[in-house]
Point group: C2
Chain length 363, copies 2
């Protein structure tokens, strides 16, 4: 199990026909020579990362892909912009990387989303592999092919669907993740339990303390289970014409919080946690969700050290207006994901504003 | 036939399953109320154009879509950039246009490519309609879903496949097109004859003088026949994994010329004409194409007033290097489209550099 040359890992497949790809989950994957090198081969490779992540893992990755060029981008949500995507285009053209090149996205969700978007557009589509090094990227951003950059007026408003060729979620990298980012990643893990799997939610309630201690076996299970749920939903609805929208639980509130607070001030997972709490309270107020389930959800988020309230400094009318730019808005009507049980959620497009305001302002 | 309320027009369909769309070709289409207004309905509409085109046709279009907002962008290939795409994103977000909005691209290939690219990315795909007002845009850029912006190091290097919902090619708009742009559009018309349809090529040889006089019936036939050939090829190979590459005859040379000369100095059609002449001479030098066919192609381009030579000021080594950034390059090998008859072309990836240089330097 712990032989460093053959670490234990498990593989799921995102079954999308010609675009089918594996998600490998395990400790030590980045260092496993025959895994990454078999994917890179002798192709032109550009490794995209940030300085702090590169300091930890660049050497390991380059040992598997010695011919790769490296591009380091500034770290943080506030740099997930068209300007950063342009730096990737510049590097690709400077190095003469062609349509048959390959990019490696080594880092958190920002690097994955940026590299994914750039590879969707260069030149109308080039391959990339996700090497996520944060919990949030491993359980969410790296899987499913949604790529994007932010606009000052709205998060992820400029993007493309572009699936990676493979995802290598090396859970050993989570050992070096700072506490705040680690907890932010748990928000998306908890989300999967709420929208799709009551058993997994109950497991999280039971195992949260060991998970907060980063117990390897528990982490392995949490990442694998999250990826499994996300892959199932993406296979069923790649382009988000239906069920995939449920993955956005907490995100309409969350994106508005991130935009209003200024990108980078709230971590994505923190904003999603507060958003999940707001959606949950709204669902309870509408009698969609029993009060006991509402309490269990809010309590689990709180135990994970995640925010369940929006700071008073954020003005409700401004937040409401930002929610209106959400991508799920149709014919100017806000469409929200609300939980209707632990393990189930639905889309609602007629939630009264007073209910939303009360859910947000909840003392 | 000339009733202004019901002008004669013909419709082709680009048969792409769920993304099937019509190409309407005829004189007076923009003014035909029931055509455009049935497509816009009560959706949020953003009309994207340039000041000179808007001065001529904005009023006509707004009469069919009175609730549309307008965004005018600077005119010219040198503005087909990410920065211009960003102006479209800004306008969409400022006006709160949602996923169910609709954009109208009114203008030449630059406006069509820019609007197409922006709608591919906002927010991961919104509808747009092509209202091409140049010959080049009507016969080429508006059909087929290739969208892109330029990079200083390479033309069309940042882009996406995103099909329009409809194309309205109003050939009455060609009456106001300046002579240089009109002739540049003929380069793509001639290209269709060379790669796919010897009968159409012979028709062009016979009708070129009336076509240069902008005879309406001849123009109608030329635009319709060009769109028909392009649609056939796009239906067969939407993502350019095979036959669609033949549409790039002259474009590997042409894009290098445009980039080397500085965007906007050579019109796209002019650069393509010179590129077709180079490819044709290379094909003759390789004994792929009979010398008489080579002479017919070069002569037709010359009769259309199009360049068939690259100016001596453009340095061959620099041009050759730019050709290497072409999107068709695979494993660092240049892949060229060469005609092998009037009405037929093939991909060649082993053309000796000496042949290319001689074709370019041909006195």
């Amino acid at each position: 199990m712990t032989n460093p040359r053959h670490p234990s890992f498990e593989t799921l497949f995102v079954e999308l026909g010609a675009r089918r790809y594996p998600i490998h989950v395990g400790a030590g994957l980045l260092a496993q020579h025959d895994l990454l090198s078999s994917l890179t081969g002798d192709r032109d490779v550009l490794l995209v990362s940030t300085p702090p992540v590169a300091a930890l893992y660049q050497e390991t990755v380059l040992a598997q892909a010695p011919h790769a060029r490296t591009l380091l981008l500034p770290d943080g949500e506030e740099y997930k912009t068209l300007a950063s995507a342009e730096m990737i285009f510049d590097a690709l053209l400077a190095h003469g990387v062609g349509r048959d090149g390959l990019l490696l996205a080594l880092g958190g969700g920002v690097i994955g989303d940026l590299t994914g978007f750039a590879t969707a557009c260069y030149p109308r589509g080039v391959d990339f592999i996700q090497l996520p090094t944060t919990l949030l990227a491993q359980v969410d951003a790296s899987v499913g092919g949604k790529t994007a950059v932010n606009h000052p007026r709205g998060k992820n408003m400029i993007g493309a669907f572009h699936q990676p060729r493979a995802v290598l979620a090396d859970i050993a990298t989570l050992a070096t993740l700072d506490e705040r980012n680690y907890r932010a990643g748990l928000a998306e893990v908890i989300k999967y339990g709420i929208i799709r799997d009551g058993t997994f939610f109950a497991w999280l309630e039971e195992r949260l303390d060991v998970l907060l201690g980063r117990d390897a076996a528990s982490l392995h299970h949490a990442v694998l289970q999250s990826c499994r749920i996300k892959a199932e939903i993406v296979i069923a609805d790649e382009r988000e014409t239906g069920i995939r929208a449920l993955l956005n639980l907490g995100h309409t509130f969350g994106h508005a919080i991130e935009t209003a607070a200024g990108y980078g001030n709230w971590l994505h997972g923190e904003a999603v946690a507060a958003g999940i709490a707001c959606a949950t309270r709204a669902a309870a107020a509408l009698d969609l969700l029993p009060p006991t389930d509402c309490a269990r959800i809010v309590q689990l988020l709180e135990r994970a050290g995640l925010p369940t309230r929006i700071p008073a400094a954020l003005d409700w009318p401004a937040l409401r207006k930002l929610m209106q730019t959400d991508k799920k808005v149709q014919q100017r009507k806000l469409r929200l994901v609300l939980p209707d049980a632990i393990g189930s959620a639905r889309l609602c497009d007629d939630v009264p504003d007073a209910i939303l305001e009360a859910a947000v302002k909840h003392a």
